[in-house]
Symmetry: C2
Amino acid sequence: MSDLLKQFENYKVQKLDINMARGKPCPEQLNLSLPMLDIVNSKSNCFDEDIDCRNYSALEGIPDCKKLFADILDIPSENILVEGASSMNIMHNLLSKSIISGICGEKPFSKQGKIKWLCPVPGYDRHFAMTEYFGFEMINIPMDDNGPDMDLIEEYVKDPQVKGIWCVPKYSNPTGIIYSDEVVRRFARLKPAAKDFRIYWDNTYISQLSFNGEEEPILNIFDECKKYGSEDLVYEFASTSKMTFPGSGVSAVALSDNNKKDYLNYLQYQLICFDKLNQLRHALFLKDKKTIIEHMKKHAKILKPKFDLVLKIFDEELKDIAIWSKPTGGYFISLYVKDKAKEVVEKCKEMGVTLTKAGSAYPYRKDPDNSHIRIAPTYLADDELETATRVICLAVKLVK
Amino acid sequence: MSDLLKQFENYKVQKLDINMARGKPCPEQLNLSLPMLDIVNSKSNCFDEDIDCRNYSALEGIPDCKKLFADILDIPSENILVEGASSMNIMHNLLSKSIISGICGEKPFSKQGKIKWLCPVPGYDRHFAMTEYFGFEMINIPMDDNGPDMDLIEEYVKDPQVKGIWCVPKYSNPTGIIYSDEVVRRFARLKPAAKDFRIYWDNTYISQLSFNGEEEPILNIFDECKKYGSEDLVYEFASTSKMTFPGSGVSAVALSDNNKKDYLNYLQYQLICFDKLNQLRHALFLKDKKTIIEHMKKHAKILKPKFDLVLKIFDEELKDIAIWSKPTGGYFISLYVKDKAKEVVEKCKEMGVTLTKAGSAYPYRKDPDNSHIRIAPTYLADDELETATRVICLAVKLVK
């Protein structure tokens, strides 16, 4: 038995059960926000201006939380709606609206035949799963370190059936790149044939700092759009999922005046209001951009050693047999093992380590090169993280 | 100048600004739940079983909150999904799903031509606004003290284009009636032509007690459906909006096994999970049915004098010139002023008292008798409530 096989058998008998599939913050990160749970209590004045956050009202969100996201996104607060815990849910809602009743007076997608959607790859699996479920035809757009291939996008949007594009412009999931200024500008200058084409600008990591605790700004797409009168092109999303408690935070969408009016006309029939007590909790805890930066430095401090560890082990073990991204921030590392991604993920599973399914970062789960593996170092404790990473390296060597 | 006109002028100069349009709990009711805001704090164990409520997971809701609604609804917890703050949002989501991708394998509503919807009247304005927005053809179903006219419903559901019905079976909004056992049984025995016909059983007041603090049970429609194998007919909704904080509570939907599977297959593409910390807060505070009953007695104690006051003034002032409901629970009184509802609401507005728009309780805001006015006594403090009620009585007399 070869040495590699012996190691493989050795891992198998350990019956490991390590899940590295999702980009979840680790418990130490969650602990950073525990003080927020005391901030709205039985002694609190639960008012924001004249709004009693304990009662019905304020569909657009409370003023202080709108201001918070205005500060984060550098967009006027009147262009921001604050909703519930999930920005993904807002994207889904805007897509549902597009299908059912259309965008800004255009025909509903359900009456426009085949809908096509641009998907920079590798990208976020949950984005692609959503547009696949809705039956849109998804088109791969290759990405490099500057962002998606803009030449290709400018070509594709000449087709009036192309109605939108998914973007994670900062610390892109899963490659970790930040869209360059030029890419952002070309998005703002886009002239799609379809009037109801929208850029889904999922800026979920906007407040994230680099692992070294530094700000890595990205060009403000709304400012750029203003220069070209194209503000209606963009829906920008943000949330506190990676700041406080994922799934129990608040989310927001920034919209041009036209888009806001259009969306509110849908939303007003959907519910009375979102959870304003949780909005108040977040507004009081995160306060402003300065406070957020201090808070995010603590996150960076926890994340850095985890990414360092994985990258160090990859360096030690995978030099010359694989390539991988070296992100400065975000939640993922992309590992590339040409023609062997599926096999590596399967081997890891056999050794008790669950990774995101191979192909997940591509529409229809079809990685044309069967190469990309999404590595999520954030959730695991250091010992498990080291074990999981060694298992991944062994799997790569085994299938080579 | 007549005495009535003098009174009218007298109110006008007072420049009142009293809003009695919505069924909102009053501040004293909200205060009852303030201790809940301390229950999940920085020292808490935020786990429910093995679920860290601070992180992503548990799309169906946390076990303890599912059990809570299981207890409230008397339905197994595996048939319950706990979502975010708004049950209206769940209804909207199920309707969106019906339109976009259909129900349990049937064709999407968007591909089935004209969709018709049954609307017991008078009913809840927000229900009707939702189905109107979606372009469904709404059909009035008269109600009496036992519930909707079941003969008519049994007739209408023979039409395969009729896809659903709105019901508020307990303390019906706005008449306050409770559906009789026979009505519930006839719903359970319904044989609609459309396989994708669903009863939207909005049991939002299920935990409400009578103003005297007594339980007024309603027959469990799921139990009845089981007898006829018709569990797939019903979506049942509940929420804590009238127990804790409206708009910041938790909501739930009870679904048959088939409907649950069908809905989850939609929901899983929509978001990762709902706010589990708020679910935990509610599960720890409301605990079980017994605890809820004690809590709801306190609500009843606050509500009773408000309803008594309005009914007493109506008795004094409107005998022989109007009729009105005398609900045992719920949030509304229905006042009937044949052919004059619009005029009464306008006159009230002139005197500075805003009521729900006349006609609101009917599809398309068209009350065939221009008779029904929805009175919402809950939110106002006693002095304002008395003033508003006197204004309403004066308005009725003025237009007669």
